[in-house]
């Protein structure tokens, strides 16, 4: 989780600064991808060989849960659902 973010030994302030800049750049691009994904159909690969599709809504800030709608399951369509990220191996969508 966010409490265990890795960081360099603080011996070198410039390394720490570059590390922070890297973190910002990486995070910004990831957050932009979540924005781009909102409202799009997304395929989720879950554990135990389960695949589901749903319309992506949003994520919580720690990327622990995804809010989705129109979740297609073997038991029918779930109008609104929360997917736990710990149950997901991968997801994909098209831009």
């Amino acid at each position: 989780g966010p409490t265990s973010l890795p960081s360099a030994a603080p011996e070198d302030a410039s390394v720490l600064q570059r590390e922070q800049e890297s973190r910002v750049a990486l995070r910004e691009r990831y957050l932009r991808s979540l924005l781009a994904m909102a409202g799009q159909p997304v395929s989720f690969t879950m554990y135990e060989k389960v695949s589901v599709t749903a319309v992506f809504g949003t994520s919580d800030i720690d990327v622990l849960n995804f809010q989705v709608s129109e979740l297609q399951t073997p038991l029918g369509v779930q109008k609104e659902a929360l997917l736990r990220c710990s149950d997901i191996i991968a997801y994909s969508f098209q831009l």
């Binding site: 966010p2 973010l5 890795p6 960081s7 360099a8 390394v15 570059r18 590390e19 922070q20 890297s22 973190r23 750049a25 990486l26 995070r27 691009r29 990831y30 932009r32 991808s33 924005l35 781009a36 994904m37 690969t45 554990y47 135990e48 060989k49 800030i61 720690d62 990327v63 990220c85 710990s86 997901i88 191996i89 991968a90 997801y91 994909s92 969508f93 098209q94 831009l95």
Partner: protein, 96 residues
């Protein structure tokens, strides 16, 4: 390699714009160009340009990543394509 989630942001950044093959949980394999690695979740975001001009974007969740192998480095054209992907108004499929 050290465990994927324990890498530093500088190490993750070194994968951006590289074509990689990712081995994930339950023997799933993924290939594509690294767009970013979320420094909070360690999720890897991959892009795969499609023949129809669209781009398939996949993410492998950090907790499921077992191995990441670098295959190729992007040329300038591919780097530009990857950089433009999430900038609103720049995407080819964005219509407003």
């Amino acid at each position: 390699m050290t465990e994927w989630r324990k890498k530093t942001p500088l190490e993750w950044l070194s994968y951006v714009n590289k074509e990689v093959q990712v081995l994930a949980a339950e023997k799933h394999q993924f290939k594509g160009w690294v767009l970013t690695v979320d420094p909070v979740s360690a999720n890897i975001l991959l892009a795969n340009p499609l023949d129809n001009g669209k781009v398939s974007v996949s993410a492998i969740l950090g907790h499921a990543v077992q191995d990441v192998e670098v295959m190729n480095e992007a040329d300038d054209e591919m780097k530009e394509k990857l950089e433009r992907l999430f900038i609103p108004g720049e995407s080819q499929t964005y219509s407003q």
